[in-house]
């Protein structure tokens, strides 16, 4: 769950340009393997939390409005779980 939060946070706050963040950039930020990240990205795109864009023949990802709502809820409930000494 925290990886999803990291990916969405990166695409929202730290994307290098308007077209979004590349897979290489996300691997570095989320600190996960390519195989695992690819599966997570596919699911996030299917769920409508991320939008896939193509820039300079490279696949990039940018957060959708649905993803922004999710990230806001995620951060709020992460605080709630933290208060119980738990990881969301």
């Amino acid at each position: 769950m925290s990886i999803i939060g990291d990916i969405l946070s990166t695409t929202r706050d730290e994307a290098p340009d308007e077209s979004g963040a590349s897979v290489t950039y996300l691997i570095r930020k989320a600190n996960v393997s390519y195989g695992r990240l690819a599966k997570i990205l596919e699911t996030l795109v299917q769920q409508g939390l991320l939008e896939q864009t193509t820039s300079d023949r490279a696949c990039k990802y940018r957060i959708s409005s649905r993803g922004r709502d999710f990230l806001q809820a995620y951060r709020g409930f992460r605080e709630f779980a933290d208060s119980f000494g738990l990881r969301i």
Binding site: M1, I4, K39, I40, T43, Q46, Q47, L49, R66, D69, F70, Q72, A73, Y74, G76, F77, E79, F80, A81, D82, S83, F84, G85, L86, R87, I88
Partner: protein
């Protein structure tokens, strides 16, 4: 008079537990987090446990007009609450274990040869251990994150543990004020768990698939 207060406190516990359960459920629906799912089960169980005692006593007293209230209602309610406390402790990483047959018999069989009211006290002592575990783990988390809301949760769990201890201790002084004090302490403890809710925006309605 004491009966009315006890019933009112149990019903208050029912409402508070249910509110916390609904909030955790909203969190689970929004994020798909298994931790919030466990908290959702925990708070629903705690709320339902209070409700069983409160409504049970009300039905027996006002509808069935029983002069003597059944003790199994109390045992059932506390048992359901213990499930809730287990899920809070479980979220902190308790490893469940199922004893092998020889040991299993030595643990389970005594439960069937002891009187009914002793089961209540066994359940209370289990609740106490689970709550103390949850309190210690939450205090440890507070040492790491230094969040003010975490100390409120630790205090809440601690008060619930104290309430269970006082409830268990009332075996020595039955019919005393101890039960009332125990119930009040538990309600205050449950109320303290409300503090973190004030920090969460209730928005969205998303849920991720299970394949992540």
């Amino acid at each position: 008079m004491a009966f009315v207060f006890e019933t009112a406190l149990n019903l208050l516990g029912f409402v508070v537990g249910l509110a916390l359960g609904i909030f955790s459920y909203i969190g689970f629906k929004n994020t798909g987090s298994p931790t919030l799912f466990r908290l959702n089960i925990a708070f629903f169980s705690i709320g339902i446990g209070f409700g069983v005692v409160g409504f049970g006593y009300m039905v027996e007293s006002f509808i069935l007009n029983y002069a003597q209230l059944d003790s199994w209602i109390q045992t059932l309610g506390i048992g359901i609450q213990t499930i809730g406390y287990f899920f809070i402790a479980f979220s902190h990483g308790i490893k469940s274990f199922f004893p092998k047959s020889r040991y299993f018999k030595s643990i389970i069989f005594p439960l069937f040869i002891i009187p009914g009211n002793s089961i209540e006290h066994i359940i209370r002592s289990i609740s106490f251990i689970l709550l103390v575990y949850g309190t210690i783990e939450t205090i440890m988390s507070y040492m790491e994150n230094r969040k003010r809301s975490t100390i409120f949760v630790a205090a809440g769990l601690g008060l619930l543990a104290l309430g269970e201890f006082l409830g268990w201790y009332s075996i020595i002084f039955p019919k005393s004020i101890l039960y009332f004090v125990s119930l009040s302490t538990k309600i205050i403890g449950l109320g303290a768990l409300f503090i973190p809710i004030s920090q969460v925006p209730l928005r969205g309605g998303l849920k991720l698939g299970g394949n992540i």
